[in-house]
Symmetry: C2
Subunit: 561 residues, 2 copies
């Protein structure tokens, strides 16, 4: 490395733009030590009710943001983190960011968001569409149907299905619902790339969002022919997104005088190409070798892993060349519901006696149920659940599936169900692991990041169910640390991301090892899970779809009682 320990120790800043706030972390380049952090909440948060500029109600499933909230993070969180760290601004040699994705906005050619034009301030489509804007499902459905009909080569790289969250679905909705905004948008850009533009004054496009969210494969976007078949005016979207691709860890440019004034950082320091929150985390855990499957476990789980070969893994969210680390195929898969299933259970199905007991013992209900669950032998609850309360992304790609629990008796108690739900998500991860391996992409180790790693019992279940060692990230700010690593590379402190990850990434290896007896016992339960998984998930019994249809019809105007 290029750092001279005898001079002032250099630092980098990683900024993680989340759903409700942005977090800046000051990181020492030499060893990845996190020396200061600050969080700034977005003033407008998630705009999903009414548009503040007009007070007009938004339709269901909309989720917008105001891009100036992102600039405010630069103005407040960065100086605050620096102040908290106590290190001089002059020691900062680079800045990197990661963002939620696909979070995308229309802009002018100079980067001005359309929503910042006074005459468009009252137009919802002029704003950033947040990742969880889910109002473009019917556009996504058309995108997918046509792709299969035309046998588009890229569809297989996304598990056979493009999400309504992604760039083309959101752009098609924009075109068809507000064609004037579509026409005036000279750029259609990920917020990740847009904030980099704000920092260094230069438009860049990172390979990660281009590949995972904008269907950029083998050097090209979907063809004009295909887009025209969706809507004759739609090929124009290509002009709004076309731009040379920048590799992860590259220098996007130097910090502008304006951005230096916002942040208090030195003008001209390196600004790294943008990243996505999940995909930037493997370097933070130094888990970028092929076979190291990193799970970002929170309300849902995102699985990211480098592979040496290109394979079409069933149900994956995407496989992108250089999408996680340059030189590898970056795979992404996901489970739509994990922590939020546990939270749903605790919030809506745990009786007062447990809530009171947890309070008396000064612990959370999750902790109490985990403790009591852990006292059971594998299988003693007699239950199996399907972890589809929020649908299934991988490997079935079906968000209209639903949850199931079987084996209930009058003797079933909360720790039984809680454990069965924890296990169901581990079975879901094992299903993904086996899909990778069946496609020829080995998985040798699980590395865990995200809020759920604090549940040691859950971690042990995953190790036992998947029958592989479990390592855990050594940072509570994984995405920001990953962004800082990319900043260090962009600043030239390390030759590449792997070298920086080795020095700055933090992981505790093999914290949880599978127990052979439990792993053996889980094989039998997992076999039951897979049998139910295929019966309910692959069309043998489409009851879950039919129940959803009944539900929607009934809510649309049925009789009561």
């Amino acid at each position: 490395m290029n750092v001279n320990a005898h001079r002032e120790s250099p630092h980098v800043i990683g900024i993680d733009f989340g759903t409700l706030s942005g977090r800046a972390v000051v990181v020492r380049v030499a060893d990845g030590a996190e020396v200061g952090t600050a969080v700034h909440e977005y003033a407008s948060g998630v705009i999903d009710d009414v548009l503040p500029a007009t007070g007009a109600a938004l339709p269901p499933d909309w989720a917008l943001q105001d891009p100036d909230d992102y600039r405010e993070v630069l103005r407040h969180a960065v100086p605050a983190a620096l102040a908290a760290s106590g290190v001089p601004a002059s020691s900062v040699i680079g800045v990197g960011i990661d963002f939620t994705a696909c979070t995308v906005l229309p802009a002018l050619a100079d980067g001005t968001p359309l929503c910042e034009l006074p005459e468009l301030r009252g137009r919802p489509h002029a704003y950033t569409k947040l990742w969880k804007h889910h109002a473009a499902q019917r556009h996504a459905d058309r995108i997918n149907a046509l792709a299969h009909e035309r046998k588009e080569p890229w569809i297989g790289r996304y598990g056979g299905k493009i999400s309504s969250e992604w760039q083309f679905a959101k752009a098609l909705q924009l075109l068809e619902e507000d064609p004037e905004i579509f026409a005036r948008a000279q750029r259609w850009i990920e917020a990740a790339d847009w904030i980099i533009w704000q920092l260094c004054g230069v438009e860049t496009r990172n390979v990660c969002t281009a590949g995972y969210k904008a269907v950029y494969q083998d050097g090209r976007y979907p063809s004009r022919d295909y887009l025209a078949a969706l809507n004759p005016a739609f090929p124009a979207v290509l002009d709004k997104i076309d731009h040379p691709q920048s590799p992860l860890g590259a220098r996007a440019g130097g910090l502008t005088a304006e951005a230096a004034a916002w942040t208090g950082l030195p003008e001209g320091i390196a600004v790294a190409v943008a990243n996505v929150d999940a995909h930037v985390t493997p370097p933070a855990a130094n888990a970028i070798a092929p076979g190291q499957l990193l799970l970002v476990m929170g309300t849902s789980t995102c699985h990211v892993m480098n592979g040496e070969i290109l394979a079409e893994v069933p149900g994956m969210c995407g496989v992108v060349r250089d999408g996680i680390t340059s030189g590898s195929w970056g795979y992404e898969a996901g489970q739509s519901g994990v922590g939020d299933i546990f939270a749903w259970y605790v919030d809506h199905a745990v009786p007062p006696s447990y809530v009171e007991r947890a309070a008396q013992r000064g612990m959370s209900v999750h902790e109490l149920l985990s403790e009591e669950s852990a006292a059971q032998p594998v299988g003693a609850h007699g239950l199996v659940a399907l972890d589809w309360n929020n649908g299934n992304r991988s490997v079935l790609v079906d968000h209209e599936l639903s949850g199931l629990i079987v084996g209930l008796t009058l003797a079933t108690r909360p720790p039984d169900i809680y454990r069965a739900l924890l296990e169901s998500t581990a079975f879901g991860t094992r299903t993904i692991v086996e899909a990778f391996e069946s496609a020829g992409v080995p998985v040798t180790e699980l590395v865990i990041a995200g809020g759920l790693l604090k549940n040691a019992f859950l971690m042990q279940i995953y190790a036992d169910v998947v029958n592989r060692p479990l390592s855990i990230i050594g940072s509570e700010q994984g995405p920001a640390l990953g962004s800082a690593i990319h900043a260090a590379v962009a600043a030239g402190a390390y030759p590449d991301v792997p070298a920086a990850a080795k020095a700055m990434g933090k992981v505790h290896r093999n914290v949880y090892l599978p127990d052979p007896d439990r792993a053996y016992a889980y094989d039998a339960l997992y076999a039951e899970y897979r049998l139910l998984h295929d019966y309910f998930g692959r069309g043998t019994n489409d009851v879950m779809h039919r129940l959803r249809t009944f539900r929607n019809q009934a809510r649309a105007g049925g009789q009561t009682s």
Copy 2:
């Protein structure tokens, strides 16, 4: 009728011997008015932990009673009911009883229970085995396997399976675990018949328990050959149970001087032949016509109905000639878990917010959840459940099945699940109704008795799901009223049970009528129930059995965590 309204109005007494107590009700013969009632709890209750005489622990699944507790009901509840009624003892012309069944005890030839012999006081097998004594399952399994192997003609009349609760299973356990007690038992007798013996000094055997609990069909018990194949010593059981059968409503004898002293009733008044609690209830609801299916709905549901023809209905508990009303075939079916599933849910899966809200509104959690459930259109919860948390009696006869719920989402709330559970039991009843009809036994009306009839929302669900009018019994003491009706017939006040039921039975007809729209909507949900019912219940996927096996193995000595 024979009652002369100008003389002192005659009365009868019905006594209902339950699991924990006995209830006596004084009933006016003319119109069935219930003029006084009293309850006496059994001092020893259910003996399922240790034997009081020795303090010795009982094995799992045992449930005994002390028969003197039944006499105590005669000594206390009858005089107390009479006192409460204010009518003179001299107005009482007869007494009838009903009992839990199969509740059976070994006795000497004079009726002395073996447990009352001082030298046998410490022997568990000398006591009454209560209906829910479940320690004879392996004996029942052998009884069933051999019956099928030998194609015994009677097995089809019990849905293909004899219960471990019944007389032969309990007797075989007695023989093989304590052959001395078996040998000393000169009589093996239902507690129902035993208490009649105590009242009138004469042994009788009622056709109801003989048919439903002792496999008495077409004038005979199972053959000596068959019994000898189970155990060479087992045919001797026939000598202990053989006795002429007495029809329901017949006079067993006159009240003895001793029993008159216990009860305060006139010596010599009519004592009716014994009845069983569920089977005695149809007359109390004046629901003894063919096609009137009476449901006794409580923790479980017992379905009883008279039919004009003999048919083998899948999964029925039994069909017995004259078993409910003389001259008809009496059918019995059952659901193993109904109210206890709802109670399980409320006790173990309802969060504090609902419990608190119910308390604030001064209602039960059941009432609150029913109210909120009732506000939903059919199908709006998107759920279907299988009502097998306590196994399935009819139509699958498989107590190792378990509960299931499908359709869970993060938006699922307690009223959704509660309603799905209520509906699942209605689907279970519809399955039984359809099994009767498919076998050629029409069901035209449901008549409801038991504690659950107080839930009007549940009643409406049953009417809509089964798509038939629902009538409800007009007495809260149905079994005791039914026993009183039999007492009136035995005393000669009416020529037969139908005539007495017409005068004394109480029913509110067509209280709940099916709503055509809801019935139509439920057809779709019921189709889903049946699909799951057959998939999980008929061997396509035996996951419920395997999960139970895993559970039992794990509990027998597995590793934890």
